[in-house]
């Protein structure tokens, strides 16, 4: 019986020949990412252990990204705790480098690795064929101290992509459409695997965007087949693949979906659920107060280029706050060099330092009572971006930028 990519990675990490869905295995972890959202809690628990030790400090990567620069005295204390601990134990540490998942992709992740991240969107790493999954601080602590953890082998949903996205349609429209189709719990506990000829038409930025959002369908992880695009990306970032797994022809999938990319349309996910997906046209004209282009989902150079192309020579609507937040310092420097930062500044956008920003909803661009945000962030849960009575619509970089110009939800072809 063949195995899926997820099964192969777990088998390798567990040191066994084969695994099947439902098995529980003890696995060796390749990397452990944690950010300022919860690391202070992990440290508190660590310090309560009788004889705490870190199994292998070289596996740890700690990234300050949720509240950067720091926005409150409470956060400042958590930050100091994290910074001091990292310094004391020699943990690889980033602050100001960008959103954790983008920083991980740029600097650490490689194919075939098994990675725990104390953040739900850790599934992003599947873009290069790594098994990334989000865990809470207790699981994180156990892995940090032992270097290991246990994993329930997930079933795999296979998404067989064919065709090509039309102009003006983006990876973000694709993944939101998929989440709309299978529902917010449609992949609970499962792995979502992407393959097929259509995948070859999607660049690494698209792939990260797709895998990153799979947790919004409940997925444990997301995985993509390694191909030339993956290998080129890894090479450009100075890394070699650890494994180069593909699902076997006779691998068992819980379900296979065939998706023709050319059928995907610009969509919007309406408040307050990521799977409330409708054709973007249905939302056209909806008043907005703020627009956000950024996040680990859609803050890469490719996304900024899309927005910049649309807004160049135009202005942000005077009553809209348009936040543009590159996903990493590397993205920022590239955008600066390409004149994209200038384009956004000229248009009247608010360009912030690389960080989670309003996607995290507690630090920058917080929205008030009854306000409406259109966002390229990961979530539109009630209260996610600020006041409990506020509204978040999710859309592509193109739709968000077009809306920022119009002052209401608009599609880019009408700007």
């Amino acid at each position: 019986m063949g195995m899926t990519i997820a099964e192969k990675i777990i088998a390798a990490a567990a040191g066994v020949e084969s695994v099947k869905p439902g098995d529980i295995h003890t696995v060796e972890l390749d990397r452990l990412m944690s950010n300022d959202g919860t690391t202070h809690l992990t440290i508190d628990m660590y310090n309560k252990l009788r004889k705490p030790r870190i199994a292998d400090v070289s596996k740890l990567v700690w990234i300050m990204d949720h509240n950067v620069p720091c926005d409150s005295v409470k956060t400042a204390a958590s930050h100091k705790k994290m910074r001091d601990f990292a310094k004391e134990h020699g943990i690889q540490f980033y602050e100001g480098a960008g959103v954790c998942h983008q920083v991980m992709m740029e600097n650490h992740v490689t194919s075939g690795e098994l990675i725990f991240g104390a953040d739900s969107h850790t599934c992003a790493y599947g873009a290069v064929g790594a098994f990334g999954t989000g865990v809470g601080c207790t699981d994180y602590l156990y892995a940090m101290v032992t270097g290991k953890s246990w994993l329930l082998v997930p079933e795999t949903l296979k998404f067989n992509l064919t065709g090509k996205l039309n102009d003006g349609v983006y990876a973000r429209d694709l993944i939101l459409s998929i989440i709309g189709m299978i529902g917010a719990n449609g992949a609970n506990y499962m792995a979502m695997e992407f393959g097929g000829e259509g995948l070859r038409t999607l660049n690494m930025s698209d792939r990260i965007c797709i895998c990153n959002l799979c947790v919004e369908a409940g997925a444990k992880t997301a995985l993509m087949e390694v191909d030339e695009i993956t290998l080129d990306y890894l090479k450009a970032h100075g890394r070699e693949p650890k494994h180069n797994f593909k699902s076997d022809a006779d691998a068992a999938f819980a379900k296979v979906y065939d998706i023709d990319l050319s059928t995907i349309k610009p969509i919007v996910a309406k408040p307050h659920f990521v799977d409330s997906v409708v054709d973007a046209k249905e939302c056209v004209g909806t008043h907005i107060d703020e627009a956000f282009l950024g996040s680990c989902n859609n803050g890469r150079i490719e996304d900024l280029r899309v927005g910049a192309r649309i807004i160049k020579g135009k202005k942000v609507h005077p009553l809209v706050r348009f936040l543009v937040v590159p996903a990493s310092a590397e993205v920022y420097r590239q955008a600066l060099a390409e004149g994209i930062i200038d384009t956004f500044m000229e248009a009247g956008a608010i360009v912030m330092n690389p960080n989670c920003s309003v996607c995290w909803g507690s630090c920058q661009g917080v929205i008030g009572e009854n306000e409406v945000l259109i966002s390229t962030g990961t979530r539109n849960f009630k209260g996610r971006a600020g006041h409990k009575d506020s509204f978040v619509y999710l859309a592509s970089a193109a739709t968000v930028t077009a809306s920022a110009i119009k002052g209401e939800i608009a599609t880019a072809d009408r700007i």
């Binding site: 720091c70 930062i341 200038d342 630090c363 008030g368 006041h387």
Partner: protein, 413 residues
């Protein structure tokens, strides 16, 4: 009997000769209101029974303290501001273009000889172009919006003469910190400061701005520089005779005259937690730091960013130290992006934010906690200003700040 600059401005404004101690009503040329206080200004204005702004074109509303919003009720200020602008026909509004004081001068709202009030203590800044400008509360702002006038007591003037060439790595910030240290935090209370001498004549308007901005930290009502060609160029105007005359007369009466030799200045810092607790950087060297902040209406201008970039070029911020850079305006950000300054700062590891008050106003932008130390180029190091009351804030010039960021400790630039 001659006159000081402030006496001439008030005379020109009221049409009669004035002397220190006189209480007079001035006609206001421009007012500035910022986002933190607009809800209060709006409600007081209506409570007072006014139905229109005396001259809506003379009022400027600027969102800067709360940009981008960091707390859920912050955007309420924008909503109230937007409604006020709409209701009373104001045209001059900036929603994310930078810090109020930078915009007031940069966008041409202030000219030499103007009388300007703002709902912010650092409104003294506009003295850099020879305007009498001072900070007031929101109740008085509401009354000006209705009447176009305000009573003032004509202040006595402290004259500060600075001559000679500044040593390398000494900036205007070091001069004003030294002066505040010498005068004390209340040394110029109720008084006007007047700067003269070839050192200030040779300074850019931006450098003068750093000095007039901080005059309030010695309690001053205003801080004035004589308008010259640099002022004219900065404001995009040709100076009239009346404007050219805005210099202290040789026989003007000063309550105090202070003379400095530029060569005697050294890089200094204002140590926790008073702006007048000023010491030479050399005496503080070696102290470990956690964060550096380059920005604010005091020191977030292009020349400040360039001075920092010159020091940071090819180097990197020390491990575990944050360097936060917040340009003072959108225009400055764009200029710094265009001339490569931003690229240098970003390469060095700076966290570059959108132009706003940022950390200087202490609501976001790099808040710190107990035992941490920050070197900052802004204007205040009060207890609790940037986090808990156990944060150590040292105020410094952009050059000193940049050097500290690389070293991870206090060093002389």
């Amino acid at each position: 009997m001659g006159f000081t600059i402030i006496e001439k401005i008030v005379r020109n404004n009221t049409g009669k000769e004035v002397h220190p101690g006189d209480i007079v009503t001035v006609n206001v040329d421009r007012v500035m209101i910022h986002d933190i206080f607009i809800p209060f200004v709006a409600s007081k204005f209506e409570e007072m029974g006014f139905t229109k702004i005396w001259d809506a074109d003379k009022a400027v509303l600027i969102y800067d303290h709360l940009v981008p919003a960091s707390q859920v009720d912050d955007t309420r200020h924008f909503r109230i501001g937007n409604e006020f602008v709409e209701k009373y026909g104001m045209k001059n509004i900036h929603r994310s273009d930078g810090i109020c004081h930078q915009l007031m001068t940069e966008a041409g709202y202030v000219k030499p000889g103007d009388v300007v009030f703002g709902t912010d203590s650092h409104t003294t800044t506009y003295g850099c172009v020879g305007a009498f400008s001072s900070g007031i509360g929101y109740t008085e702002m509401a009354s000006i919006l209705g009447t176009g006038t305000l009573w003032i007591r004509v202040p006595e003037t402290i004259r500060v003469n600075i001559t000679g060439k500044l040593p390398e790595n000494v900036m205007a910030k070091d001069i004003i910190l030294k002066l505040i240290g010498d005068l004390g935090a209340d040394g110029a209370t109720y008084k006007a400061l007047e700067f003269a001498g070839d050192t200030v004549e040779n300074m850019t308007v931006a450098s003068r701005m750093s000095m007039s901005n901080m005059a309030i930290e010695a309690g001053a009502k205003c801080a004035l520089f004589t308008p010259d060609e640099k002022t004219a160029e900065y404001c995009g105007i040709t100076l009239t005779d009346k404007e050219l005359d805005l210099a202290g007369d040789a026989d003007a009466k000063y309550c105090k005259v202070i003379n400095y030799r530029a060569e005697d200045f050294v890089p200094v810092m204002a140590c926790p937690s008073n702006v007048d607790n000023v010491k030479p950087v050399s005496e503080l060297a070696g102290k470990e730091i956690d964060q550096v902040f380059i920005g604010s209406c005091t020191n977030g201008r292009l020349e400040d960013l360039m001075a920092a970039a010159e020091i940071l070029k090819g180097k990197h911020v020390a491990p575990f130290v944050k360097l936060i850079v917040t340009p003072a305006s959108r225009k400055i950000y764009k200029e710094a992006a265009a001339n490569g300054t931003m690229a240098v700062l970003a390469e060095a590891g700076a966290i570059i934010t959108h132009p706003s008050c940022g950390l200087c106003c202490g609501r976001t932008g790099g808040i710190l906690t107990d035992g941490e130390t920050v070197i900052a180029t802004n204007n205040r190091n009060f207890l609790g200003r940037m986090g808990t009351s156990k944060v150590n804030i040292y105020l410094a010039s952009p050059k000193s700040a940049a050097a500290c960021a690389i070293a991870g400790k206090i060093v002389n630039p």
